[in-house]
């Protein structure tokens, strides 16, 4: 049966066994597993973070995954990019990853684009997640290795109202947070924390990194993504809602830093920058819309 012909997706006996350890969790259950099956996750960057996150998400039963990266596999990638081997050197990361994930996660519908994501190419590239995004079952993982790409991706996610989970790692420092303009606009966006004129001294290619540090951040990114997707049907928060402990607001309104030397995590509340060049316009439009409906 093709995915499009399937009106109401269901789990077969094999699915129940495969995903049993997830279904056992009351927070997931059969309904949650089915929900994941209808989700589409876009992963930009198929390096250490992107590959590991893709593996976790594909094997967890996410229905569709789109991989985007114009890089090719290099020998120096192999200590962290565990899906690749020497035989893959010189090939496009996104295409090799798609092939290997298809074997590991036969239930997952995979798409691969061996190209860079730009604001221009994004329209066509993301057209096939539009339906999932309207149904609040789409999400984008930023797993890129430079600040310019991260700024473009944030802008794209704000423009498309696509939830974003951003993770990064260089040397012994990791950072993680999620942005969702529909569910928690008060948390702001990537630009609210790191505006366009931010100077980035660190990246993996000039700083070095240990593989397991990348693994920690990729696991957290995948974990955050799964929980946001599972809670996507929770009520949308209005602008005045304050984050509550244990709720999804808590996951959306936090900025986490990981120190891979001391193994310590630090979290801080995110705040929207009222003058943010990227998310302020959509905030103003939404607030105007909300006021209009209140005064009706």
């Amino acid at each position: 049966m093709s995915a499009t012909a399937q009106k109401r997706p269901s789990l077969d006996d094999k699915d129940f066994i495969r995903y049993s350890r997830q279904i056992f969790l009351p927070e997931v259950g059969e309904a949650g597993q089915l929900q994941l099956k209808q989700c589409h996750v876009v992963i930009i960057g198929c390096g250490g973070l992107g590959l590991l996150a893709a593996q976790y998400l594909a094997c967890a039963g996410i229905g569709s995954i789109t991989l985007v990266d114009d890089d090719r596999v290099e020998l120096s990638n192999l200590p962290r990019q565990l899906l690749f081997s020497e035989a893959d050197i010189g090939q496009h990361k996104a295409l090799v990853a798609k092939q290997k994930l298809a074997v590991l996660a036969p239930n997952c519908q995979l798409f691969a684009f061996a190209q860079m994501l730009t604001l221009d190419s994004a329209e066509s590239l993301l057209a096939h997640v539009a339906t999932a995004n309207r149904q609040q079952s789409a999400l984008l993982l930023d797993c890129t290795d430079n600040l310019a790409a991260r700024h473009s991706i944030n802008q794209l996610c704000i423009e498309h109202a696509l939830p974003l989970v951003s993770a990064s790692i260089a040397a012994f420092n990791g950072q993680l947070f999620a942005v969702d303009q529909r569910r928690f606009p008060a948390g702001g966006c990537y630009h609210c924390v790191f505006p366009n004129d931010t100077y980035a001294p660190q990246n993996c290619s000039n700083q070095g990194v240990l593989g397991p540090s990348v693994g920690v951040m990729a696991s957290m990114q995948a974990l955050l993504a799964i929980q946001l997707l599972l809670s996507a049907t929770a009520p949308i928060l209005d602008h005045s809602t304050k984050p509550q402990a244990g709720g999804v607001e808590h996951l959306l309104g936090q900025f986490w830093r990981f120190d891979a030397k001391s193994l310590q995590w630090h979290s801080a509340r995110l705040t929207r920058d009222s003058e943010c060049e990227v998310c302020a316009p959509s905030w103003n439009a939404n607030t105007a819309q909300a006021l209009k409906s209140v005064h009706k």
């Binding site: 390096g47 600040l147 790692i169 260089a170 420092n173 990791g174 931010t198 660190q202 509340r269």
Partner: protein, 71 residues
Amino acid sequence: MRFVVILIHLNNVPQTLQQPLSLQALLEAQNISQQSVALVLNETVVPRHRWSSILCHHEDKIDVFAVVAGG
């Protein structure tokens, strides 16, 4: 003559300020380039454009850190 002694913790290091400083002035005094860091004041991220208008208070906990863009 009036003395104001403000004790703050900057990246877990106690610092004494002899006069009230804005977050921006604090970074300047520490030779930290504003464009290279994000700032957390008492466990809340403070957007960069507000750094000039917020004064350090006694017992403030301030963390500054560089953006990490690697993946």
